[in-house]
């Protein structure tokens, strides 16, 4: 199967990637348009809810959270694979990451931003949002540092800012390339500004290497901490079905899972719209697919562990929730999650599907659906079937306003992502060059070795 050619001219790499900033396929504009419409719907819903009150989301006591928090977790989770691919694989010198990590990181950043939005639409008094920030004030009032929600805020802020920096630093040499190849105009100005006068001197490269490595090292534990903190929003509470020890690893696995699935989806979309067949090769796709499969199995395992733990415990309330999940109002969705999350990925086990683009595209979408359902199934059943039977409520159903905003969030994310790919090189040029360079060296060595043998 064909991979990036060793003999590809470096100049061509520049041209190809720079082209992606100029003229993508028509599909790009279609996607962009759809995204804008979807986002519009979301905004409309929020305006309506903001003016009328949270009631229009058809939330109630005890169902106080609904889809907002579920989707919030979903987006947080999605953000994790960017880091995984970029940082971990970077540390392991897996050079096949090089053509694809850029958009993966972009995905991280933007899904974090989307997640942030859900905190906003969720709270009852958006106009008082700043109360939850630890800013010094004359009254000496501070937010409650004991609240997992505040840990969330802190972790997400750290994660978001770090990933943005990581993304930016990694992009500097490419910005320099863009600067050098771009005709005069606002773009050139932009790149000149962002390239910070990068010239690829030995000194710059030296420090660059160390810095990049360091941040990568920071990002990995950070990513893990972020989603385990999100998990502790639930694990730290007393609610049945939430108060589970294995939640943090379970959440992290779920996060990586949905992230990888999303990467496959976006990989396929970018590959086509920006004509990256040359760089985003099927062999790379194959590697991601295998990685995803592995993670899917880990997730399946942790899922089973969670249920087993509850089943084996003497916590009647939690058991009741589990049974409710499997047999109650939400059963179809819960089983849907199991199917999408644990059965569908088995497709990846077959060699012939591992590079079959249509199949992979469909599958990856299913996986993400499954991961979204997982988040919803963590939230809803616990609320509708909590500790206190008198307030059990199995009839609560998210209103169109909630669905509208979930829909809109996908629009928002796609919008940001697509614009990014159009403005910034979504394939790392300098690293592709490195990749090619090292391969050639390797080939040379092996040739000379052969000659020696004769």
């Amino acid at each position: 199967m064909k991979d990036i050619r060793e003999d590809i001219a470096w100049a061509k790499i520049n041209q190809d990637v720079m082209k992606s900033l100029e003229n993508p396929r028509r599909l790009y504009w279609v996607i962009l348009f759809v995204a804008i419409c979807a986002f519009g719907v979301g905004v409309a819903c929020e305006i309506y809810q903001y003016r009328t009150g949270m009631g229009v989301a058809n939330l109630n006591n005890p169902q106080v959270w609904g889809l907002y928090i579920a989707t919030f977790i979903f987006w947080i989770g999605m953000s994790h694979s960017g880091t995984l691919l970029s940082a971990i694989l970077h540390l392991m010198h897996a050079d096949w990451r090089k053509p694809i990590y850029r958009f993966a990181e972009a995905m991280t950043t933007f899904s974090l931003m989307t997640a942030g939005l859900f905190v906003m639409v969720h709270i009852g008094r958006l106009w008082q949002f700043y109360y939850s920030l630890p800013y010094p004030n004359e009254r000496g009032i501070w937010p409650n540092f004991q609240s997992p929600l505040l840990w969330d805020a802190m972790a997400i802020f750290t994660y978001l800012s770090s990933s943005i920096l990581f993304l930016f630093v990694g992009m500097i040499p490419d910005l320099a390339i863009a600067r050098d190849n771009m005709a005069d105009g606002w773009r050139k100005k932009l790149y000149t500004l962002l390239a910070l006068g990068w010239e690829g001197t030995d000194r710059q490269w030296r420090n660059f290497r160390v810095t990049y490595l360091t941040i990568a090292c920071f990002l990995i534990p950070l990513a893990v901490s972020v989603h385990s903190i999100v998990a502790s929003d639930f694990a730290m509470s007393q609610a049945p079905g939430w108060h589970v020890t294995s939640f943090p690893p379970y959440f992290v696995a779920g996060a990586l899972y949905s992230g990888c699935a999303a990467i496959i989806t976006l990989f396929i979309i970018l590959r086509y719209t920006f004509r990256f067949e040359e760089y985003m090769t099927k062999s790379i796709l194959k590697k991601i697919v295998r990685l995803t499969f592995a993670i899917a199995m880990i997730w399946t395992y942790l899922n089973a562990v969670e249920f087993a733990a509850v089943w084996y415990s003497h916590d009647e309330a939690s058991k009741a929730v589990l049974i409710e999940k499997a047999t109650g109002t939400y059963a179809p969705f819960w089983w849907g999650m199991i199917f999408c999350g644990s059965v569908v990925p088995l497709v990846f086990a077959f060699e012939r599907f591992q590079t079959n683009i249509p199949v992979l595209f469909a599958t990856s979408l299913l996986l993400n659906l499954g991961m979204w359902l997982e988040r919803w199934m963590i939230i809803a059943p616990t609320f509708s079937h909590g500790i206190y039977p008198w307030t059990w409520d199995h009839d609560q159903w998210p209103s169109m306003v909630q669905w509208g905003m979930v829909f809109g969030s996908f629009g928002w994310f796609t919008l940001l992502f697509m614009i990014f790919c159009k403005v910034f090189p979504s394939v790392s040029m300098y690293e592709v060059k490195e990749m090619v360079y090292h391969r050639t060296l390797h080939l040379k060595k092996s040739e000379t070795a052969e000659q020696g043998a004769h």
């Binding site: 039977p389 008198w390 059990w392």
Partner: protein, 741 residues
């Protein structure tokens, strides 16, 4: 002795003393009038104190409390209203009242919402085709005078709810002045049958029930904790009864076909075949085996097996009850509203009362009531027979002019009466109303009344729980609406049309009331004290406690001529008994427009804002009915559609729909919520008393196919705790109440 000279002087012209006393409502008073202390017309000029103009006793930001009387039902609880900056905020109970001793039920507290209700009538309205046009009071009065002109007394009908005190006096005097004797006092839910039975059994209509003295209370369908006679008083007695004098907890056994709030609190709730309560009572007498003579003779036929078959109560259960009643004395047996609702209702009640005689409770837990010393002020209590009389009269076109006050017959009359049509036959209909309710809508002239919290008045409750007391009603704040008037003022104005001379001394109802009370302050327990002191004290207390003698109880058991019907065969067309449910907050529905009451969940079903059909799960299963199914309940008279609620606290052969909802008028919080079961009640009467037998309607149940989500407070788990330790209970052998604080 009263100085008639001074009276001549003040009345401005010579009238003889008897008339004068009649005017003021003291004629025939059982106590001597004290003539000392002079009254002056000046008092009449006093005006109602405005709580809006800050007086020295009103500190902004601090609540001031005024005592008055609750008008939400007839129990006559005394209220203690919190007023701030001239606005009444909350009604507490008045601790000095022997009736409610500082407590308030939900219905009573909702009185403020009656006062502040946005749907009150604010202007006198004259029918002009389909709609009403606003007119002035002068015009309204003139119109009444004109319409009465040349109409014979017997052609005038005055329908009212239960009235007492000086309002009753004025009303009586007015009717007298227009020569009418047709005062129909109607209450849809009054214990008329029980009164009749009690008269036979005890010689009094309502004896004083002493739950607090009883060790066992055997209640046949008496919802004394919810809506029966004087719930606030009974509830407090119940608390003592439960604690027990010597730490021995009182035992409550409730016998009824549909669980009431009281039944829900019983140690043993026994479901009986509707109408067989009396049979069970006789069965218990039989099982006691202590009766002799006439009674023994009577109950001979009622051996445990027969009774068990007839009532559906197990033999062992009957024995247990008998044993307990023997063991613990004194006990108290109550015949409540559920037993009187049959063609043999009075007989039912008499049979049950018999138990008290057999158990020797009469005189112990059944005490003689106090006699009301002032017959003219004594409450004239409502019943349903009077409505029947009125309805027949109207239908026969006997009445040209009809007045309606404090009652809503178009809503509460049984469907079989077709009251609306009958009423249309009256030429000129005047409604004194707080709201544009169903009856007011049929009237030609609607006169807006002050709310109970704006009004003056005196009231004597029918059930004097704790000695004779005259309840004072005074405004807790200034009128909300300029053009509403006190019923007293209206009657005064009307009576002045006829007897201006007698009444011209009284500028308004307040003046009338004041001078009337002062006139007799000696008898009211303030002989000799200065008028103003007496008056102010009366207003401060809100109650006048009056020494009075007790009536006589007859301890002679009225067993003779007692006969209970044999079990009647089931009508195939209408197989089920229909039990109109009486809930503590809705009652007959006159307060349905008070949102607190609409949103406070029904204690047993936790349903809000709507009606429902209680049906036993077994029966529901037979008929394939599930919770929330819209079922059609059809009687000979009519049919209603409502959501089904599976309720195990009801006899499988009966269904129940709560009264009070299903208004077509009244106001925004009442209109269009639920259905009105009054509408399907057949016209069946108690053979003895002629009272409407509300439980005699038979119905059939049909699924309509529609289904709704029942709006109720209980969650998806229903009334189950799912093994969580939330509401825990013990049995008496596991506790020692005497140790408790």
């Amino acid at each position: 002795m009263i100085d008639s000279g001074s009276i001549k002087q003040l009345a401005g012209h010579p009238i003889d003393r008897r008339d004068f006393l009649k005017v003021l409502g003291w004629s025939g008073a059982a106590v001597a009038l004290s003539g000392c202390g002079n009254t002056s017309v000046e008092d009449g000029k006093e005006t109602v104190v405005s709580y809006v103009e800050a007086n020295d006793y009103m500190i902004p930001g601090v609540g001031v409390y005024y005592n008055s009387t609750c008008a939400q039902c007839d129990a006559g609880c005394s209220i203690n209203g919190r007023v701030r900056e001239g606005r009444v905020l909350k009604l507490e109970g008045n601790p000095d009242s022997g009736i409610n001793k500082g407590k308030m039920c939900g219905l009573g507290q909702a009185g403020v919402q009656d006062h502040y209700n946005p749907d009150r009538v604010r202007e006198p309205l004259l029918r002009n085709g389909a709609k009403g046009e606003t007119i002035t009071w002068e015009k309204a009065y003139a119109l009444i005078a004109e319409k009465l002109n040349g109409v014979k007394g017997e052609e005038i009908a005055f329908l009212s709810g239960g009235v007492s005190g000086h309002l009753k006096v004025l009303l009586g005097n007015y009717l007298d002045s227009i020569g009418s004797k047709n005062h129909f006092v109607y209450e849809a839910l009054s214990p008329a049958g029980v009164r009749a039975a009690n008269l036979k059994s005890y010689g009094v209509a309502l004896p004083r029930y002493r739950l607090d003295k009883a060790k066992v209370v055997l209640s046949f369908g008496a919802d004394f904790l919810g809506s029966w006679i004087s719930p606030m008083h009974f509830s407090q007695q119940y608390a003592q009864f439960r604690k027990g004098a010597d730490g021995q907890r009182g035992v409550l056994i409730q016998v009824e076909s549909k669980m009431s709030l009281t039944g829900a609190n019983a140690d043993r709730w026994l479901v009986v075949k509707p109408g067989t309560e009396g049979v069970l009572a006789l069965g218990i007498i039989h099982a006691l085996g202590t009766a002799s003579g006439e009674i023994a003779e009577l109950v001979k036929a009622y051996d445990r097996v027969t009774v068990s078959k007839a009532t559906g109560v197990s033999v062992s259960q009957i024995d247990k009850i008998a044993a307990l009643l023997k063991l613990r004395s004194p006990s108290l047996v109550l015949a409540g509203s559920a037993v009187e609702g049959y063609a043999h209702g009075a007989q039912n009640a008499i049979a049950i009362n018999l138990l008290n005689h057999v158990l020797g409770n009469v005189g112990k837990t059944i005490e003689a009531p106090v006699a009301v010393p002032f017959p003219q002020l004594a409450p004239s209590v409502g019943n349903t027979a009077s409505l029947k009389a009125l309805n027949d009269g109207l239908a026969a076109g006997r009445y040209k002019v009809m007045f309606s006050y404090a009652t809503n017959p178009v809503f509460t009359a049984p469907g079989a009466f077709k009251f609306k049509d009958s009423m249309a036959k009256a030429g000129f209909k005047v409604a004194f109303a707080h709201y544009l309710d169903e009856t007011a809508l049929q009237a030609d002239l609607v006169l807006p009344l002050d709310s109970a919290l704006e009004d003056w008045g005196t009231q004597i409750p029918e059930y004097l729980a704790d000695g004779m007391q005259l309840n004072i009603q005074q405004p807790l704040m200034e009128k909300l609406h300029a053009n509403t008037r006190s019923m007293g003022d209206i009657l005064l104005a009307l009576v002045k049309q006829r007897r201006v001379e007698d009444y011209k001394g009284f500028e308004d109802y307040y003046a009338y009331l004041r001078s009337s009370l002062l006139q007799n302050k000696g008898a009211l327990g303030a002989g000799g004290s200065d008028d103003d002191n007496f008056w102010n004290e009366a207003l401060t207390k809100g109650i006048l406690k009056i020494a009075s003698s007790a009536a006589m109880l007859s301890d002679r058991a009225a067993a003779s001529g007692l006969q209970l019907p044999k079990a009647e065969e089931v009508d195939a067309k209408f197989p089920m008994h229909f039990i109109p449910g009486v809930t503590a907050s809705m009652r007959d529905g006159r307060h349905a427009n008070q949102p607190w009451l609409q949103e406070s969940p029904d204690p047993l079903t936790t349903i809000v804002w709507d009606s429902w059909v209680e049906i036993h799960p077994k029966k529901a299963f037979e008929l394939g009915i599930a919770e929330g199914d819209i079922v059609e309940v059809t009687s000979k008279t009519g049919s209603i559609k409502a959501q089904a609620y599976l309720f195990s606290g009801i006899h499988p052969e009966a269904v129940s729909v709560p009264l009070g909802r299903g208004h077509e008028a009244l106001g925004r919080y009442a209109k269009g919520f639920g259905v009105n079961p009054f509408g399907i009640l057949d016209a069946v009467y108690d053979k003895e008393t002629g009272e409407l037998a509300m439980h005699e309607t038979r119905v059939s149940i049909k699924k309509t196919g529609a289904r709704v989500l029942i709006v109720k407070d209980e969650g998806a788990a229903g009334g189950l705790q799912m093994g969580r330790k939330i509401a825990v209970s013990k049995t008496t052998d596991q506790v020692d109440l005497s140790e408790e604080v």
